[in-house]
Each structure stands twice: as structure tokens, then as C-alpha cells.
Symmetry: C2
Subunit: 217 residues, 2 copies
């Protein structure tokens, strides 16, 4: 993750990670925003938070850089899944269930990689996920919607100047999940559609026919 690269390239410097539900346009418009500030040095973190925060730009501090990084990355994959559900007109119930079960996958991956469940249930996990899955301003969501409506991936990508992070993150998240031997059925289905030529309807059917289990994160 980015934080790890910076740590290697710039040793001896504290790395801070600002993450959470924040469309930039709303921040500069002075609309209220709350974010996670992740930094291992608690004291520098407090100084940073007090220097940057205002009543309309609230910063919640954590030392859990791993959790903040994983939440911020994997939410993009789930936004594509939410888009597919929206594009296929599968309803609000399905979308809410997908966000819930998707967060459970993020928490499984994040805690297996050494992050904290609290971070992933917070602004840089759940908060960011809710925003990205709810607003058409999100590039990942709109890519999923186009896919769900049946437009081919290559077409969608060719028409975009900006990067849609979720496409590459799906494969990376799945590799990390395999390394930690945890299941991420939704992320795996998105990766199959994006990177392994799978059929969308077959993947949806596969998710819906998984055995019933107890509800645990």
C-alpha cells in the first residue's frame, strides 16, 4: 500500500493517511466532512489534527494505518458491485445487503492483515463505502452501473480519461485474501467479471446460491 511505499522511500518520516467519505467539491464548498487521520505517531497525529481540523472538517485519529489503507482501497471494488446491482435494477434491498456483506469482507481482510475492526467500521471503512456506493459522483459506481446495463468493460474504460481504481484493486485484494486464507465472495465475483471474463448473471447466481450461515463478520 501507498503508506508502506512512502515509509520505505522516506525512512525516518512519520506517514499520515487521511481517508474517509469526502467528495472534494463538498469539502471546498464548506459542507461538513468527517475523516480518519491514521498515523502511527500519536503525538504528531494530534498536532496535525488540531492544525487541520475545523468544525466543518472533523478528523478522528487512529494509529491503524493498515486498516485505513485497506478500507479506502477495497471499498472501490464494492462500489463496482453496487453499481452492477443498480445497473441490473436489482433493488434497494439487494444494495443494502451487498454493502453489509461487503463490509464484512473488508473487515475480514483488514483484520487478517493486521488492521483493526474499529477502523473498518469507521469513516475510512464503512463511511467511505457508503459514500462511494451511494453517489453517482463515484467513478467506480458509475463503471459498475454501465457494466450492469450490459456495456463491455473495454468500452467503458476506453471512454474514460480518469483512473477507475477498483478494476486493479479487485485482483490485488483477492491475492491478499488468498495469502491470508480468507473468503471474499463478493470481491472475487467482481474480479471474475472484470479480469477473468466471467458472466455477470452467473456470478450473481453464484453469490445468491451460497449456503446459509450464521451472521458473523
Amino acid at each position: 500500500m501507498l503508506g508502506e511505499i512512502v515509509t520505505v522511500e522516506m525512512p525516518g518520516h512519520a506517514v499520515a493517511h487521511l481517508s474517509g467519505p469526502s467528495f472534494a467539491l463538498e469539502v471546498v464548498s464548506g459542507l461538513p466532512t468527517a475523516l480518519t487521520l491514521a498515523i502511527s505517531d500519536r503525538k504528531i497525529g494530534e498536532e496535525l489534527a488540531h492544525a487541520m481540523a475545523t468544525p466543518l472538517f472533523r478528523l478522528y485519529q487512529t494509529t491503524d494505518i493498515t486498516g485505513a489503507g485497506i478500507g479506502g482501497a477495497v471499498k472501490n471494488v464494492l462500489a463496482i458491485a453496487c453499481g452492477i446491482v443498480t445497473g441490473r435494477a436489482m433493488g434497494d434491498n439487494a444494495r443494502a445487503a451487498l454493502i453489509t456483506r461487503g463490509l464484512a469482507e473488508i473487515i475480514r481482510l483488514g483484520t487478517a492483515a493486521g488492521g483493526k475492526a474499529e477502523t473498518l467500521m469507521g469513516l475510512s471503512g464503512l463511511g467511505d463505502l457508503v459514500l462511494t456506493c451511494s453517489s453517482e459522483q463515484s467513478r467506480n459506481l458509475s463503471l459498475g452501473i454501465a457494466l450492469g446495463k450490459g456495456r463491455p468493460l473495454a468500452d467503458i474504460l476506453a471512454s474514460r480519461a480518469s483512473v477507475t481504481e477498483g478494476v486493479t484493486t479487485a485482483a490485488a485484494a483477492l491475492l491478499l485474501a488468498q495469502k491470508h486464507k480468507i473468503e471474499m465472495p463478493i470481491v472475487s465475483a467482481v474480479d471474475a467479471v472484470l479480469n477473468r471474463g466471467a458472466n455477470i448473471d452467473a456470478e450473481i447466481k453464484g453469490l445468491l446460491s451460497r449456503p446459509l450461515k450464521a451472521e458473523v463478520a
Copy 2:
């Protein structure tokens, strides 16, 4: 809660609680829906789940009736808060932050009352909250939107034939929070607006000027 009343009135019968993100219209239309089935008797629960579930109506089982009940009730209060934020045009960032910090309040209350965090992070907590806060089909959300736009509560209630659960739940949740000595600043602000004549803008300002803390549930 309802489950407790049924247990008292009908002793010796297993009480099951079905809860989660489910607009009935979507369920009868055959759109995919996933819910929590809470029942203390695991064996009867498994029989019920297998009798009722289909690939398009997925039931995740838990024995945590308290958690499922609190999640399903308190989400209505937060939906009113989400509506106020929407009605006041405070933006998507604020809405996502409100859902995240609102879920933290639900988890605090639910675990203090003996429920499990996993249940509240699941379909009957987070899932139901996301649905209720995102869809104008929700009576609580639409009441909040009208309040946020400046319409008086008495006016809104007088124009409705149906019950808006969040109005009475706000006071009940706050009483339970006080009993367990936990903080629920968002629920308290909603209750102040609904039941104690507080000014909406003053309550929003109060929430935004709370001291910065570490991000924990």
C-alpha cells in the same frame, strides 16, 4: 422490546425476530433480499430458515434477539437525522459520516444492553440503517427531510396516516442509553428536535463542535 413482550405473554414459545433491509414491495416482486433471523433456539431457527429461505430471500441466523431488536428500532431515529441532513442540503460527505457515527451509537447501545456488535454490524443493524437512510420510500427519512426543509413537526405528523416510528423511538433509545450510561449524541440531538423543542441549526452546530476524539465504536 416486542420480543420481550411476546415472551412474557406467550411463555414456553420460541420467539423469532426477522429484521433487516427489506422494502416489502421488492420482496414480493422477487428482488433479492437478505435478512437476519434472530431466535434463541438454534435448532428451531435452522428449521425456520430452511423452510422460509429461497435463493432470492436469504436468511442469516443469529441467537442475538437483543441486538436485532435494537438495530431495527434505533435505525429509525438515525433515518430522521439523515433526512434532516438531506433536507438542509448538507451534502453526501455529511450523510456518510452521520451513518458511520450513527452506527457507532447503535453498537454502543446494543452491546451495553447485552447484544452483540456482529449483529449490529450486520443486516439488522448496518444493512437496515443503510436502506432506511438511502431510500425515499422510508417514512422516517421523509419526515427528516421535511423537518430539514423547515416544516414544523406537528404539521408533518398531522398530514400522515401511517406511524413514523422514529419519533417515539428517539426518547426510548435515549432513556435506555442513560440507564446504561453511554453517550448517543446524534440520537440525543434528534430527540431534542422532535420532543424537546430544540432548534435544528443549534443541534447541528452542537454536534459539529464536539471535541475531537480517537475513532472508536
